[in-house]
C-alpha cells in the first residue's frame, strides 16, 4: 500500500505531501520524505555510481527503512517525486508506471495559469487524480 506521495520543489521545498493512512503520522512521513532528499541528491550528483543513465528520471529505490520503501523520481525541472510504500515486494515496472502517471498529473496541475510556480499545489483536481493513481497502484500490471 502506498503510504505517502510527495512533490518536492527544486529548492527542496515541499510542494505537496499527501499521506494515505488513517493514522496521524504526518510528522513521520515528513521526516521520511525530507530524509530521502539526501539520497536523491546523492543519486543525482553521482549518476555513474548509482547506475543511472543520462536523462533517466526514475531514481529507483532510495532507501529501505524498517517498515517502508522509498522511491524517487526527478523531473527535468528538478522537481522530485517521492513515493513511500509499505509493500516490501514492489515491482519496478509498477513504480515506474506510477511515477509516469503522477508526473502527468503534476504537469497538468502546474499548467494551471492560477498556479504560482514554487508554491504549494492546492488544486483539488490534482489531489483527486493523485488519489486515483494511488488507488490503482499495482493493480494494472498485477491484473
Amino acid at each position: 500500500m502506498i503510504v505517502c506521495v510527495a512533490v518536492v520543489g527544486h529548492q527542496n521545498n515541499p510542494l505537496y505531501i499527501q499521506s494515505f493512512t488513517e493514522a496521524d503520522d504526518a510528522l513521520k512521513l515528513h521526516h521520511i520524505v525530507h530524509c530521502s532528499l539526501d539520497v536523491v541528491d546523492e543519486r543525482v550528483n553521482n549518476p555513474k555510481k548509482s547506475g543511472l543513465t543520462l536523462n533517466e528520471t526514475f531514481l529507483g529505490l532510495l532507501y529501505p527503512t524498517e517498515n517502508y520503501k522509498v522511491y524517487g523520481y526527478l523531473t527535468n525541472t528538478k522537481v522530485k517525486f517521492i513515493l513511500v510504500t509499505t509493500d516490501l515486494d514492489v515491482r519496478d515496472a509498477d513504480v515506474r508506471n506510477f511515477f509516469r502517471r503522477f508526473h502527468a498529473a503534476y504537469v497538468d496541475a502546474v499548467s494551471n495559469p492560477f498556479h504560482v510556480p514554487g508554491k504549494k499545489i492546492t488544486s483539488r483536481t490534482f489531489a483527486e487524480r493523485v488519489s486515483n493513481i494511488v488507488k490503482s497502484f499495482g493493480l494494472s500490471s498485477a491484473g
Binding site: N12, L27, H31
Partner: protein, 1291 residues
C-alpha cells in the same frame, strides 16, 4: 599511516593492552592512601610507555622492536564483567555530567547551518562522546571469550608491616578471591606471577624490608621479587608541578594533595618497577606464549590437511558439556588457544599473525553457533548483532579514519539498542557523521538529531535534548517543512520550559503558534503548552513577531475627519466623488474662501499640504482585520493603536519629525515621541509608557474573541488632544491576557497602496498615517430619527433631523442637500410637531402652502438667523417617501460655517449616509379610455396588485392631481371590493369615472358638505379630487394631496418623468393612491419604525402611521380637444314587413380647446362592419378592449333573452345606411358644444355598430396669442366610437 596517530589506533592501543592483576594486602593500601591514592592509582602514571624499546620475536624469525606499550592494572575483584545495571548507571552518569557541562551555551541562538559546515570536525561533535564510548567499551570488558582483558600477569603486593609477609603472599593466591575467569577454566590459571613488597619509609628504615626481600627471593625465586619503598619524603609535603596522578584520579579531590609524600626517589623507584615488570617479565612471557601457541596451532589447524580433518572430526570431539550459551571453550581447547594467540599477537603488535588467527577461529566459532564469541572475533572486520557495540565503535573509528562517514553513520544507527539513552547517544553521533560526510547529508543530519533529541527527552536528559534539537533547528530554519519545524520548536520550547528558562522556551514556542496546517488537537496542544510557559514565566511578554492572530494589512482602513465630517461610520464607504458632486453647489468657491486669508490662514496648513488634517478632540478611526488562522478559538484583549504625537511648538523640530525615525524630545511634551521601526523590545517598552500617557491623546481598547478560522474587523480610534503631528505607528494587542503582540504599519503597506493606486488623490501616500492635528473646532453631529432601513414602496413617514453642536462655538449658514429628493424631502420648520398622518388630512382652513426655501440645484438653505450651539439641538422635519423599490444609497450633506472666524477651517461639511431597502408593495396600473356615452368623461380602470410577501394592504383613497379633474367611483366600493383589504399576491380592479371639471371652480367634498371655492390655479397646482375607497367614511377625512409633503413628492415624481409642472396645458392626469398596510400582519422589522413614529405623532390610530403613496402619471386617452357623444335609442322594435326603420340620433360635440373648431362629420356606408371593427380596434389608442367585450356580452345576453338569433356580422350587403348628407360641417366656439342630428335606415333586424363615421376637426386659433405654445395639435381625424343598436322585429 601510523596507526598510533589515528583515533582508532590510539583507542586500540589504549584498550587492547595486557592486563595485570594486582593482589594486595590492606596494609599496602593503607600506606598508599596517605597520598590519597590507591595502589593502582599510584602506579598508573608509569604504566604507559611510549618508548619501551624491547625486541620481540613472535612467530616469524625476524625480531622487531616494540616501542609503545601499556599495562592495565586491575585489582582482582575488578576482573569481572561489570554488572549490567551498574554499567548503565555509570553510562547515565557520564551523559548527565556531560549535559551539565554543556549548560553554558544553552541560551544562545542556534548556529546557522553554513556556519556549522564551516567549523572544524572537532568542534562539531561534542568531546564527551569519547568518554562515553570508552565507558561503553568498558561495560563489555573482561568477557570470557576474548583474551585482551585476560590478565597476563599477576602482581602480589604485601606491606613490610604485614606479619609473616611470605605467608601473606601465599594467602593472596587463595583461589576464593580470584576472579571467576581463572576459576572456571576460561583462562589458564598458570600465569606469570610477580611479588612486590611495599615499604613505607614513614614506618622506619628499610632494613626490615630488605630482610624480608631476601627471604622472598629465597622462597619465590630471584627474578620475581621486588621491594618498593614509598613515602620517602620526610616531614615536608611535596608539591608536584604537573601532578602526574591527576588524570588518573576520577573523583575530584584536590589534585595538589595527590602523592604529596612521594619524593623523586619514590618516583623513580615506581617507574623502574613497572619498566622492569613490563620489559623483563611480561613481554618475554607473552612472546614465549605466542611462540608456543603458534606451534601448537600450526600443528593442528593450519594447512589444508588440518582443515579437512577438522571438518570431519571436530564435531563430537568437544570434551566440555554444552551449556545454555553454547559450548564452553576452556583455556585448553584449541579454539581458545587460537584466540589467545591472536590477542597476544595483537597486543605485541604482530598484527599479521593476529589477523590470520582471527580469521581462522572465526570460521570455527561460526560453525558452532557460538555467536557471542563469533561476534567477539568478528569485531575487527564486520559486525555482529549482539555484543557488538564495542566492535561497532571500533568499526566506526576505522570508517571515520577512511573518511567514510556515511557508512559510519549507518553503523551508529545499527548499534542503536532498545535502550533509549544508549540509542540517543548513538543517533546523535550518527547525525554528526552525516554532517561530516562529503557532501554533507543535511537532511539526514537533521533527522537523526531529531530522533536523538526525542530519545534524550524521553530519558529526561533535557540538556542533551536541547542541544540536539537546537542543532536540528539550524537544518530546518528557513525551509518550508513546517510540520518538522513545529515539532522541533515545540520540543525545544518544552525542554527549556522544564529547565525553567522560560524566555528561551517562549521564543521557541512562538514559532509554532501559527500552525494552521496542524490538526486541531495539535493546535490545542501547542497553544496550551505555550500559555503554560507564559504562565509559568509569570510575566507579560512583548513580541514583535507574534503570529497570532494574523493581521490583514490590506484591510487597513483609516477614517478621519477634516472639513468633511461623517455622521455614521458607514458614511465613508461612499465614494468621495459622490460626495463631491453633491457638495459642489454648497461649498464656497475658492476666491470667497480666500477673502480673509490674512488672518485666517493657519501657519500650519501650507506647510504640510500633503498631510491629512484632523481636529483635536475628534477621533481617527482605524479599521483592521484580525484573523485567527487556527481551528480553536483565541481571545484577544486590549487591542489598541500605537501612536505618537509630537507637538508643533518648535517648527524645525516638527519638520524633522516627519523624516527621521528615532527619539526626540521637545519642550512641551517630553517622552512622547518614540518611533518603533525595528525589532527592538526596549523601544517597545517605551511605547508602552506613551500609551499610558494620556495627556496628549487617548486610545480606544477593544477586546475580541476569534473563533476557529474567524476574521474580525476591529475598529480602533485615537483621539488627539493637543495640536501637533500625530503618527499612527502600529497596533498592539494582548493574546490570552498575557502576551503582547505588536504590529507596525510599516512602509510595505504604503508601497502596496501606491501600487494599487487606491489612495485619494489629495493625499500623498508617504504620510498616509500621519496627521496634522489642528485646534479643536465645532462639529455638527447629525442624526435622522427613525429613518427605516426597510420600507415598502410608497411608504411615507415624517422624520426629524437632529443637529447637535457640542462645542461652545456656534455654527451658522447651514445648507443642506439630499441625493434623492424623491425619497427625502425637507420640510418646513412648522411641520416639526405635526401629528402624522392626521396632518395629511384635509382641513377646512387651507392656507396657501409656502414652498420651503430651495435655492438653486436643490440646496436647502436653513434660515439665516439659525445657529447651532451648545446643548440645544436643532430639530428639523423631513419627509420620507420610498419612491421606487430597490436598494437606495441615500446621502444627505449639510454645510456649515464656523461662527468663530479665527479657526483654521472656515466651513465643514457633515455627510450622512443611509442605506435603504425598498420593497415592492402595490403595483398600480391605470387604463384610461373615453367614456363612450358622455362628453369630457373618461373611464379609468385601475389594476392594483399586492406585491408584498405577507402584508395586507388596505387601499384608502385615489386622488387626481390637477384642478380640472374630478374622479368618482363607477360603482360603490362595497360591491366591487367588499373585503377592503388586499392580501399578499392578490390583485383587484376598479373602475372610476374621470370628469373634466371646470377650470375656475373646484368642487371639493369636505365631509358631507359641498363647498365651492375660488382658487387661483397657480397657487394650488396640486389641488385635485379624491375618491375614498373605504366605504365607511368614519375613518377620517380624506388625505389632502395638495399640500406638503405629498405635493412635494409629486413634484419630484413629475421631475423624474421629465414632465414640467404645467397641468393646465396637458391632457394628462396624475393619480395618487393612498393605502396603508394593516397592522395585524406588520412585519417586525417595519414595526419598529412604526412604534418610534407613533411616539411622535400618533396617539390613537396606529394603523394610520404607515401610508403607502403611489403616484402615477397617466395621459388621458384622447389627446384631441374635440370630444363627442352619440345619443339615441339602443333598441327598437319595428315591423319590417311594412317599411324599413328610420332611427334618429343626436351627436353632441364639445370643443375643449381655446380655439374655434371646424368639424366635418363623414358617415361611411360602404365598408363592412368587420373592417370597421378592426379599424376601431386599431384606432383606439388606449386599446381598452375589456369594456367593449363586456358590452358585447351584455348585448348577447339581451339577445338571448329575446330569443333572437341573428348574426352579428351579416354578409355582403350593409344592413343599414346613414341618411342625409354623407358629410356635415359645423363650427364650434371654444369651450362650447353643438349638436348634429343623425339618422339611419335599417332594413332588417339585427344588432348594429354605428361606429362607421369619421370626425375631421380643425382648430383655428383665436386672435390673441396667449397660448400659442400650447397648441400642439391643430387638426386631426377621429374615428367613431362603437355604438350598438339592436333592432328587433315587432310582431
Amino acid at each position: 599511516m601510523d596507526p598510533a596517530k589515528t583515533s582508532l589506533g590510539k583507542m586500540l592501543l589504549e584498550e587492547i593492552t595486557p592486563v595485570v592483576m594486582v593482589l594486595r594486602t590492606p596494609l599496602v593500601e593503607e600506606s598508599c592512601l596517605k597520598n590519597s591514592l590507591s595502589f593502582i592509582e599510584m602506579l598508573s602514571p608509569f604504566c604507559d610507555f611510549n618508548n619501551i624499546d624491547v625486541p620481540v620475536r613472535t612467530s616469524s624469525d625476524q625480531p622487531y622492536r616494540l616501542q609503545k606499550f601499556k599495562l592495565r592494572l586491575f585489582y582482582e575483584s575488578d576482573i569481572k564483567q561489570p554488572d549490567i545495571v551498574v554499567a548503565k548507571e555509570r553510562l547515565k552518569q557520564v551523559i548527565t555530567e556531560a549535559g551539565e557541562k554543556d549548560r553554558s551555551d544553552l541560551s544562545t541562538d542556534p548556529l546557522d547551518i553554513s556556519n556549522i559546515l564551516a567549523s572544524s570536525k572537532s568542534e562539531i561533535s561534542p568531546s564527551w562522546f569519547e568518554i562515553f564510548n570508552k565507558e561503553l567499551v568498558r561495560t563489555v570488558s573482561f568477557s570470557e571469550h576474548e583474551a585482551f582483558d585476560h590478565p597476563v600477569a599477576c602482581v602480589s603486593v604485601v606491606s613490610s608491616k604485614d606479619e609473616q609477609p611470605i605467608n601473606k603472599f601465599v594467602d593472596l593466591f587463595n583461589t576464593n578471591k580470584l576472579p571467576s575467569l581463572l576459576n572456571d577454566g576460561a583462562m589458564d590459571p598458570k600465569i606469570l606471577k610477580h611479588y612486590v613488597l611495599v615499604h613505607d619509609n614513614k614506618d622506619g628504615s628499610s632494613e626490615k624490608a630488605t630482610k624480608i626481600l631476601t627471604e622472598m627471593k629465597n622462597t619465590f625465586g630471584f627474578n620475581g621479587c621486588h621491594l618498593l619503598c614509598i613515602n620517602s619524603s620526610q616531614d615536608e609535603q611535596i608539591e608536584h608541578q604537573d601532578n602526574p596522578w591527576a588524570p588518573y584520579k576520577f573523583d575530584s579531590s584536590p589534585s595538589q594533595d595527590l602523592g604529596h609524600y612521594l619524593n623523586i626517589d619514590d618516583f623513580n623507584e615506581i617507574k623502574d618497577l613497572i619498566q622492569e615488570l613490563s620489559s623483563k617479565h611480561i613481554i618475554p612471557y607473552m612472546e614465549q606464549r605466542v611462540r608456543v601457541l603458534n606451534q601448537q596451532i600450526s600443528a593442528t589447524r593450519k594447512g589444508f590437511r588440518n582443515q579437512i580433518k577438522n571438518l570431519w572430526w571436530r564435531k563430537g570431539k568437544e570434551d566440555t558439556p554444552d551449556s545454555s550459551n553454547g559450548p564452553m571453550y576452556t583455556y585448553s581447547s584449541v579454539e581458545s588457544q587460537i584466540r589467545v594467540l591472536g590477542d597476544y599477537a595483537f597486543m605485541l603488535g604482530d598484527y599479521e599473525l593476529a589477523l590470520s588467527n582471527y580469521r581462522l577461529i572465526s570460521t570455527d566459532y561460526k560453525i558452532d553457533k557460538a555467536w557471542k564469541r563469533y561476534a567477539g572475533v568478528q569485531k575487527l572486520g564486520s559486525s555482529g548483532r549482539q555484543y557488538a557495540t564495542r566492535c561497532g565503535l571500533w568499526w566506526i573509528e576505522m570508517l571515520k579514519m577512511k573518511d567514510q562517514f556515511k557508512e559510519a553513520a549507518t553503523v551508529y544507527f545499527r548499534i542503536c539498542s532498545e535502550e533509549l539513552l544508549h540509542s540517543a547517544v548513538m543517533l546523535e553521533q550518527a547525525s554528526y557523521c552525516y554532517l561530516l560526510s562529503q557532501p554533507p547529508m543535511l537532511h539526514k543530519y537533521g533527522f537523526h538529531l531529531v530522533l536523538s533529541g526525542d530519545r534524550y527527552k524521553k530519558c529526561d536528559q533535557i540538556k542533551h535534548a536541547i542541544r540536539t534539537y537546537r542543532n536540528a533547528v539550524s537544518v530546518y530554519k528557513g525551509t518550508p517543512w513546517s510540520y518538522i519545524k513545529d515539532h522541533v520548536h515545540f520540543h525545544i520550547g518544552q525542554c527549556y520550559g522544564f529547565l525553567g528558562m522560560y524566555d528561551v522556551a517562549f521564543t521557541h514556542m512562538l514559532e509554532v503558534l501559527a500552525c494552521s496546517h496542524q490538526s486541531k488537537a495539535t493546535q490545542e496542544l501547542f497553544l496550551r503548552e505555550f500559555l503554560q510557559i507564559v504562565q509559568k514565566a509569570g510575566k507579560t511578554f512583548e513580541v514583535l513577531t507574534l503570529q497570532l492572530p494574523v493581521i490583514n494589512t490590506s484591510s487597513l482602513k483609516v477614517d478621519f475627519e477634516d472639513h468633511r465630517t461623517y455622521a455614521l461610520p458607514g458614511s465613508t464607504s461612499v465614494k468621495e466623488s459622490v460626495w463631491r458632486s453633491l457638495e459642489e453647489d454648497m461649498i464656497p468657491s475658492l476666491p470667497t474662501a480666500r477673502t480673509n486669508w490674512l488672518e485666517l490662514q493657519s501657519k500650519l496648513l501650507p506647510k504640510h499640504k500633503e498631510s491629512n488634517i484632523c481636529v483635536a478632540g475628534e477621533a481617527i478611526k482605524i479599521a483592521i482585520e484580525f484573523k485567527n488562522p487556527l481551528e480553536i478559538p483565541i481571545s484577544i484583549s486590549s487591542v489598541s493603536l500605537i501612536c505618537e504625537l509630537s507637538a508643533t511648538s518648535d517648527e524645525t523640530n516638527s519638520d524633522a519629525s516627519c523624516s527621521t525615525a528615532g527619539i526626540w524630545n521637545n519642550e512641551e511634551h517630553e517622552n512622547l515621541s518614540v518611533i518603533v521601526t525595528t525589532a527592538n523590545l526596549i523601544l517597545l517598552a517605551n511605547c508602552r509608557e506613551i500609551i499610558s500617557d494620556t495627556s496628549s491623546f487617548s486610545l480606544s481598547e477593544v477586546n475580541i474573541s476569534l473563533g476557529g478560522g474567524e476574521a474580525n474587523l476591529v475598529q480602533l480610534t485615537v483621539t488627539p488632544k493637543v495640536e501637533g503631528i500625530l503618527k499612527i505607528v502600529g497596533v498592539r494587542w494582548k493574546l490570552s491576557g498575557s502576551v503582547v503582540g505588536f504590529y507596525s504599519f510599516g512602509s510595505n503597506y504604503v508601497k502596496k497602496k501606491i501600487a494599487k493606486g487606491r489612495r485619494k488623490a489629495k493625499q500623498s501616500p508617504s504620510n498616509y498615517l500621519e496627521f496634522i492635528v489642528i485646534q479643536s473646532l465645532p462639529k455638527l453631529e447629525g442624526f435622522i430619527h427613525a429613518l427605516p432601513e426597510k420600507a415598502y414602496a410608497g411608504h411615507l413617514q415624517h422624520l426629524v433631523l437632529e443637529l447637535r453642536n457640542r462645542s461652545e462655538v456656534s455654527v451658522k449658514n447651514l445648507k443642506m442637500k439630499t441625493s434623492h429628493p424623491r425619497f427625502l424631502n425637507i420640510g418646513k420648520q412648522e411641520d416639526l410637531d405635526l401629528e402624522f398622518p392626521a396632518c395629511l388630512e384635509k382641513k377646512t382652513n387651507v392656507s396657501p402652502p409656502a414652498n420651503p426655501k430651495i435655492a438653486s440645484h436643490g440646496v436647502f438653505l436653513f434660515p439665516e438667523d439659525l445657529s447651532v450651539q451648545g446643548e440645544n439641538p436643532l430639530l428639523w422635519p423631513l419627509w420620507f417617501r420610498a419612491a421606487v423599490p430597490g436598494n437606495i444609497s441615500l446621502q444627505v450633506v449639510i454645510y456649515y460655517e464656523m461662527g468663530d472666524l479665527s479657526s483654521a477651517m472656515r466651513y465643514r461639511i457633515l455627510r450622512m449616509h443611509y442605506n435603504l431597502q425598498v420593497l415592492p408593495s402595490l403595483d398600480v396600473s391605470f387604463k384610461i379610455s373615453p367614456y363612450p356615452s358622455r362628453l369630457q368623461e373618461f373611464l379609468v380602470h385601475m389594476d392594483v396588485v399586492n406585491k408584498t410577501n405577507s402584508e395586507s394592504i388596505q387601499v384608502n383613497q385615489l386622488s387626481t392631481i390637477g384642478s380640472h379633474w374630478e374622479i368618482s367611483l363607477l360603482q360603490p366600493i362595497d360591491t366591487i371590493f367588499p373585503s377592503q383589504s388586499l392580501i399578499a399576491g392578490r390583485a383587484f380592479s376598479c373602475f372610476f369615472v374621470l370628469k373634466v371639471g371646470t377650470r375656475i371652480c373646484i368642487f371639493r367634498v369636505v365631509g358631507n358638505q359641498l363647498s365651492t371655492e375660488e382658487s387661483t390655479s397657480s397657487l394650488f397646482p396640486h389641488i385635485g379630487s379624491n375618491v375614498s375607497l373605504v366605504p365607511d367614511g368614519s375613518k377620517g377625512a380624506p388625505f389632502d394631496t395638495s399640500k406638503s409633503p405629498l405635493a412635494g413628492f409629486h413634484d419630484y415624481e413629475r421631475l423624474q418623468h421629465g414632465i414640467l409642472i404645467r397641468l393646465e396645458a396637458e391632457n394628462a392626469v396624475d393619480f395618487i393612491l393612498i393605502s396603508r398596510p394593516l397592522k395585524s400582519n406588520a412585519q417586525p422589522g417595519v414595526a419598529d419604525a412604526h412604534h418610534v413614529f407613533s411616539h411622535h405623532a400618533c396617539h390613537c390610530r396606529q394603523e394610520y402611521t404607515k401610508l403607502l403613496i403611489i403616484i402615477s402619471i397617466y395621459s388621458t386617452a384622447s389627446t384631441s380637444p374635440i370630444t363627442w357623444v352619440v345619443d339615441g335609442p339602443r333598441t327598437r322594435h319595428h315591423d319590417f314587413s311594412s317599411s324599413f326603420c328610420e332611427i334618429n340620433f343626436r351627436m353632441t360635440i364639445y370643443n375643449s380647446s381655446n380655439a374655434l373648431a371646424s368639424i366635418v362629420l363623414k358617415t361611411l356606408d360602404s365598408t363592412s362592419i368587420s373592417d370597421q371593427l378592426s379599424d376601431e380596434a386599431s384606432g383606439n389608442q388606449v386599446g381598452w378592449h375589456d369594456v367593449s367585450l363586456a358590452k358585447d356580452s351584455k348585448i348577447e345576453s339581451e339577445a338571448l333573452r329575446n330569443h333572437v338569433r341573428k348574426s352579428l356580422l351579416p354578409e355582403s350587403v350593409s344592413p343599414f345606411i346613414w341618411s342625409g348628407s354623407s358629410s356635415t360641417g359645423v363650427q364650434i366656439k371654444p369651450l362650447s358644444t353643438t349638436e348634429i342630428p343623425l339618422q339611419i335606415c335599417v332594413f332588417s333586424p339585427g344588432t348594429y355598430d354605428l361606429s362607421n363615421y369619421v370626425l375631421n376637426w380643425n382648430l383655428q386659433p383665436v386672435k390673441d396669442h396667449e397660448n400659442v405654445g400650447e397648441r400642439t395639435q391643430s387638426s386631426g381625424t377621429s374615428l367613431g366610437y362603437p355604438y350598438y343598436l339592436t333592432v328587433l322585429p315587432s310582431d
